[in-house]
Symmetry: C2
Subunit: 223 residues, 2 copies
Amino acid sequence: MRQAKFEGSTQSDRLAEAIAETVLSGEFQPGLRLDEGMLAERYGVSRTPVREALRQLASTGLIDVKPRRGATVANVTSSQLEMMFGAMAEIEATCARLAAMGMTPIERRRLQGLQETMEAIVLRDDRDAYAAANINFHTQIYLGAHNEILSDFATALRRRLAPFRRAQFRTEGRSSRSHAEHAAVVKAIVACDASAAHAAMFHHMSLVEDSFGQLGAPSRATA
Amino acid sequence: MRQAKFEGSTQSDRLAEAIAETVLSGEFQPGLRLDEGMLAERYGVSRTPVREALRQLASTGLIDVKPRRGATVANVTSSQLEMMFGAMAEIEATCARLAAMGMTPIERRRLQGLQETMEAIVLRDDRDAYAAANINFHTQIYLGAHNEILSDFATALRRRLAPFRRAQFRTEGRSSRSHAEHAAVVKAIVACDASAAHAAMFHHMSLVEDSFGQLGAPSRATA
DNA sequence: GATTGCCATTATGTATGCAAAATCGTATAT
DNA sequence: ATATACGATTTTGCATACATAATGGCAATC
């Protein structure tokens, strides 16, 4: 059963990625039982790498694995979602504050440059490009916090929440509002104003949460 | 190979716990190669549950697992340690702020009660009891934040940093200083003063970091 | 008719076997 | 003497096989 897709990673890792994609795409819906044998057959491998992939995904919270009871796609409750958005807002605000305090001049310039790039994207109303640039923007701030632990946590949370935010930038005027909020964040960071950066980012993230409204099903965007 | 220690958890889970203990105790030192076969023989099981345990531990950062290159006890650099302590201070401070904002009256009373209990422990200079109560104190604040995501993260970080803090409360006068700092946190939380709670907790955690000084090897406390 | 207990089926947890990659030692060439 | 290449050994990754716990259906009983 040789299928050398990527040399340098194992089948378990590739499987974890593939299963995660399938879950995030909505094909595997919350609550669905993830039978090891079924997955093994579906991906043409044995149960062993499937099990390792499932354990790996369980550690990210994407699926639940109970001893002797198998794995199921995690059923995210409305309260859990609230807590994830809340945690994300706190962490991002913290990163923004740290960025305001510790970013190098080069990093501040880069952030400003990115902000200007996004200005153009907003003007031509390219929502896909904005969604991509938005991730980049937030990632720059994670990195600017100069704390890999916080940055990894923020990245994991963002990835975990992605399916619940997919449709967001499709809504009319969302990009320009988001962009305006980014401006406040950038301004504070460039000015080395830690508490303003924290407040601006927290405000931004809170609005993101609000715009999602109450839970509801994750958007079924394709991959 | 039946060894029914705990019915309801798997050997993989028990193995992960056992290996973690051995690493945290210092018997498995940083950089040590964790050979699957060696571990399997040591714990009297086959390689399969050992592999699952290693993957699980890798997700906590306690060990490094590279594809095709096996697992090693994570070698924590001084900069990583700094980032972990920094992240911990930020998260704890955030939890304290959220606790100040959202704790129920009952939770505030309970925290105050715990603080009074610790007062007695400090007076009779029972350092082991203080160390235990201290974990309880911080846990109460995690819970008071009413955000399981942040709380889990804080708990994981605390556990991860435990070996680097073991000797801390053995130092003369550490308990009373810590207790005094706790008082400020409790006071702010009881007064619903969010920013004071944040500041007090951050101050407290920063001192913890300082008292550790620069890296050095983790304390080799037994279990 | 509902409930409970038993048995067949299914799925998970673990052990074992095998193939490929990595590591280490040795020998050879420069 | 150093570096490189080759081969043996070790170890990981994966597949397969087996044992045990969980699940579901059926029947017997209240």
